[in-house]
């Protein structure tokens, strides 16, 4: 199945893009998508303990299921205001 990955701020810089399409085997969770991404992109893994994740623009947990066509976002610590 295929998901759209969104990356922001420093994660986007590390990946060199803010949006990419990823094929992952079913059944998949956010963690599956992250593991696949972190294996390919140096520097991402350091964010595993501090980032937040979202599925289809709702905050989610690493164990949340993802389905074909979902948008999975990885968010470094926020700094608005």
């Amino acid at each position: 199945m295929r998901v759209t990955v969104r990356l922001f701020a420093r994660l986007r810089d590390l990946a060199g893009t803010g949006e990419l399409v990823r094929d992952v085997p079913e059944p998949a969770t956010v963690r599956t998508v992250w593991a696949s991404l972190a294996a390919d992109i140096p520097g991402l893994a350091q964010y595993e303990q501090t980032m937040s994740v979202a599925v289809n623009a709702e905050y989610a947990r690493m164990a949340a299921a993802v389905h074909d066509g979902d948008e999975v976002a990885f968010l470094p610590p926020v700094s608005g205001g």
Partner: protein, 158 residues
Amino acid sequence: MVQVAVTSEPLDPASLGRELNAGSAGDGAVATFTGLVRAHNQGRQVRFLEYEAYEPLAIKALKRIVSEVEAAWPDARLGIHHRIGRLEIGDASVVIVAVSAHRAAAFAACRYAIERVKQIVPIWKREHFEGGEVWLEGATADPEDQDARQAAYRTACA
């Protein structure tokens, strides 16, 4: 009225205050917080900031903060506008307006809201300073974290 917004346009605290006040039944207090781009940060001379947002989730997070405020201070009305894109020194990055019958709730709601913005809204700033640039990273966003929410509430009511 647009109670929450993420926009690349300049912010207007007075206009948000007027909109929140329109049709009010004679409330007695308006508290406004305006966050500005500082010239100095952690010993660095800041040139400008660049903000980015995960907009659909940022809007939901801002609406969540409005709901939390309405639950904690039932007579308060809140508006939050956050700017994104390139901001120069002195530009307003965020405007929060709280309207209430009395000053205590207006001040508290306003303070609570900015603390929560910094905790749970997916917005980031990249600081361009003399000699380099860096993404600033603050809180790990988790709206369900009750400790963070309580900390914001205690700060607001201190």
